[in-house]
């Protein structure tokens, strides 16, 4: 039995944090949107109707395209064993971890700005990893005997695929499609950079209404609409998950992979090579053009309005550091509460602390903008950006640490108590050391999230708090080829830092974390 007082003591900080920086701003958005009765206007204004339609349309098309274009690689890496398979699987994750601003800039570097195709291509580029991971994960474990049985019953390879394989993969395909749809439905950075003024999603429109047109009630009404849409999507997704979680004909992963032969070998090679080459082009062009156009030199040169582009790097790093510390402290306190099963507080916490993950970054930024002038005006302080980043990062820390905290058997804590450890010391000597490594992985995620965060930061960054993504975006908005080159160079820097951070974390996770 953990004492109630200890739980409430640990709960106080996350409660305040989520309450003041998340629920309260959300309440202010609701109030602003409802009190000014803009919801009615939403339905009548034609621009808004167009935006809503485009949001839905591009998300649907992006999802279908991603599923189709990711299929060959998914098939190759989950069904076959060949030299370089692991490498291919690792490489395909890289686009997914790149900050949206970097992806947007890479496609802009291809010369595709202001077009639907650029948006769709960027979305596919970003989300191929989701399909390969989700669908491939299940495909790799599908027992070949089931397909062989169908073949023995006279089905041609195509009919086996259509009548056996595809139906069995359906839950995974639906899961992947839902995730891709959600990501593209709430896509902000890519659309803002590549869409120009013509193509606007709801997310981009919230930003435009609030920051460019300063129509805050309209932005609030749009935010509410967006929240309703996203919640509905998440609920449908959760329902689906429950319904389709049927026991399947699964086998150990290694046993289902074959060495490809003859024509199949060519098909596998072509699938892998073509997909990886396509994924390689945008970042490669970004780097080459940044160098060729003299972008890296421009990073050191003062731009008349924005100042020296490279100055955003130390700003971003110090913000990421503060955001990580805050997210880890709040996240571990929250994980402590969540891992004490049985109390109603812990169940409630489990849900509430994940909410920032399901809320668009734009909504979080907008909420900060309109709400954090009370009781003191935080908006003028440098703390605002790292606090927003911490809010976005907390769920990652919680996700990383809760499983380990739950794995500590209650009697281990009780044994410490019986040996004279107060609840605080039980936390310090038992919980903390055991979750330390997981907390470090969570901290790594928090750091990367903060470095790449754009949606919320775009709202609240001030001239003295310009992060790397915001600087890239502003450079893209300035006239002149020199600024574009600088944007590409800075995007290259950010992409490289992110990729390096992910690699370090991945190594850390696979070697050290396995000891418990």
């Amino acid at each position: 039995m953990t004492s109630r007082r200890a739980i409430w003591a640990a709960a106080a900080l996350p409660l305040f944090f989520i309450g003041y920086f998340f629920l309260y701003p959300l309440g202010r958005i609701l109030w602003l949107g409802i009190s000014e009765l803009q919801i009615a206007d939403l339905l009548t204004e034609t621009r808004i109707a167009r935006v809503a339609w485009f949001t839905l349309w591009q998300a649907t098309v992006s999802t279908v395209l991603t599923l189709v274009l990711a299929a060959p690689l998914t098939w190759a890496v989950s069904r076959f064993e060949f030299p370089g398979r692991r490498l291919a699987q690792a490489l395909v994750i890289v686009p997914f971890v790149l900050p949206t601003v970097v992806v947007g800039t890479a496609f802009a570097a291809l010369g595709w700005r202001d077009s639907v195709w650029a948006i769709l291509a960027a979305h596919v580029f970003y989300n191929v990893a989701v399909v390969v991971r989700t669908v491939g994960g299940m495909w790799a474990r599908l027992d070949r005997k089931v397909e062989e049985a169908a073949a023995m019953l006279g089905a041609s390879p195509w009919r086996v695929f259509r009548t056996v394989t595809l139906p069995l993969l359906r839950p995974a395909i639906i899961a992947a499609a839902s995730i891709v749809f959600l990501f593209t439905f709430t896509s902000f950075g890519t659309v803002l950079i590549l869409g120009g003024f013509r193509y606007s999603t709801i997310e981009v429109e919230i930003y435009r209404q609030a920051v460019t047109l300063f129509d805050l009630p309209m932005a609030a009404a749009l935010s509410i609409g967006q929240m309703i849409a996203v919640s509905a999507l998440l609920i449908v997704y959760a329902r689906r998950q429950e319904r389709t979680a049927s026991p399947l004909v699964l086998a150990p992963e290694a046993s289902t992979r074959r060495h490809p032969e003859g024509r199949t070998a060519w098909a596998v090679a072509a699938s892998v090579a073509a997909t990886l080459a396509a994924l390689f082009v945008p970042p490669a062009v970004l780097v080459v053009r940044a160098a060729a156009d003299g972008g890296f030199r421009r990073l050191f040169v003062d731009e008349p309005v924005l100042g020296r582009p490279l100055d955003a790097v130390p700003t971003s790093f110090s913000f990421a550091f503060v955001a990580t510390v805050v997210a880890v402290v709040v996240g571990i306190c929250a994980a402590y509460v969540i891992s004490r099963r049985g109390s109603r507080l812990s169940q409630w916490f489990d849900v509430v602390l994940m909410l920032p993950l399901g809320t668009s970054a734009v909504t979080i930024g907008f909420g900060f903008l309109i709400a954090l002038d009370w009781p003191v005006d935080l908006r003028a302080t440098v703390a605002l950006v790292p606090l927003a980043h911490a809010l976005v990062a907390v769920p990652f820390v919680v996700r990383a640490t809760v499983p380990l905290m739950r794995s500590i058997h209650p009697s281990v804590r009780e044994a410490a108590a019986m040996l004279g450890a107060s609840p605080g010391r039980v936390f310090r000597y038992i919980d903390l050391p055991i979750v330390m490594r997981a907390a470090l992985v969570g901290a790594g995620f928090a750091f990367v999230v903060s470095l790449g965060e754009f949606g919320a930061t775009a709202f609240i960054a001030r001239p003295n708090t310009v992060t790397i993504p915001v600087m890239i975006f502003r450079l893209l908005g300035r006239p002149g080829l020199g600024n574009f080159a600088a944007a590409m160079a800075l995007a290259t820097v950010l992409g490289a830092i992110t990729a390096a951070a992910i690699m370090v974390m991945d190594r850390f996770r696979s070697t050290d974390l396995g000891t418990f």
Partner: protein, 233 residues
């Protein structure tokens, strides 16, 4: 002296412990014997302060422990499954209680070595706990419980998971150790032989109630009812 006075512990609608009373004198060893689900472990946990009392009192030398949290009771508790700290070495596990008391490092080191010798594990202090055999884990748990010299030692099925031969050997060693130290002890078990061997007196528990207390021969000779007679048979 420990006094358990009419204690009830409730889980929802179930009275896991139902008006239990018991006294344990200084230096006395008492076994709580009963079938599984009879509330023995819950009673032990209640004495340790790990379960909330619905009613009744637990006293030490006449002082009510209601407001004393587990970590201030200075009771030793050996858990079923041992609950060793997985991220600490054998030595760190045993030193834990001494560290909580704030004793100085040289004293702690000497005490850890002493206690390890008692349980026959000299030189084990740098070992990690996940590489120990079942019997070694049991001894480490016992050493950890005894190291801070608690005023009462509670043992919850301490030999539960071990094989027969090992149980018998450890039983003898453990009883010998506690006898020499003159430790006051409560021992929860469902095994008659263990209870009879270990304890001065035995408390029989059934459906949350303590139905009879006494020496094994007395209980066998004068069981309060047919159930006790059958149970001890």
């Amino acid at each position: 002296m420990l006094t358990v006075d009419d204690v009830t512990v409730r889980f929802g609608d179930l009275r896991a412990v139902d008006g239990a009373s018991l006294e344990v004198g200084d230096g006395e060893r008492v076994a709580i014997l009963g079938p599984s689900g009879s509330g023995k472990s819950t009673l032990l946990r209640a004495i340790g302060g790990l379960e909330k009392l619905e009613s009744g009192r637990i006293l030490w030398d006449g002082v009510d422990l209601a407001d004393v949290p587990p970590h201030r009771r200075r009771f030793g508790f050996m858990f079923q499954g041992y609950a060793l700290f997985p991220h600490m070495t054998v030595g760190e596990n045993i030193a834990f209680g001494l560290r909580m008391e704030g004793r100085d490092p040289s004293e702690i080191r000497a005490r850890v070595a002493e206690v390890l010798e008692w349980v026959g594990l000299s030189g084990f202090d740098q070992r990690t706990v996940d590489n120990l055999s079942g019997g070694e884990q049991q001894r480490v748990a016992l050493a950890r419980t005894l190291a801070p010299d608690p005023r009462l030692v509670m043992l919850d099925e301490p030999l539960g998971a071990l094989d027969r031969a090992l149980r018998e050997r450890l039983m003898v060693e453990m009883t010998d150790l506690l006898t020499r130290a003159g430790t006051t002890a409560l021992y929860v078990t469902h095994d008659h032989d263990e209870a009879a061997f270990f304890a001065h007196r035995i408390a029989i528990m059934r459906e949350g109630r303590i139905v009879q207390v006494g020496k094994m021969e007395e209980l066998r000779r004068n069981p309060v009812d047919d159930w006790v007679a059958d149970f001890l048979d």
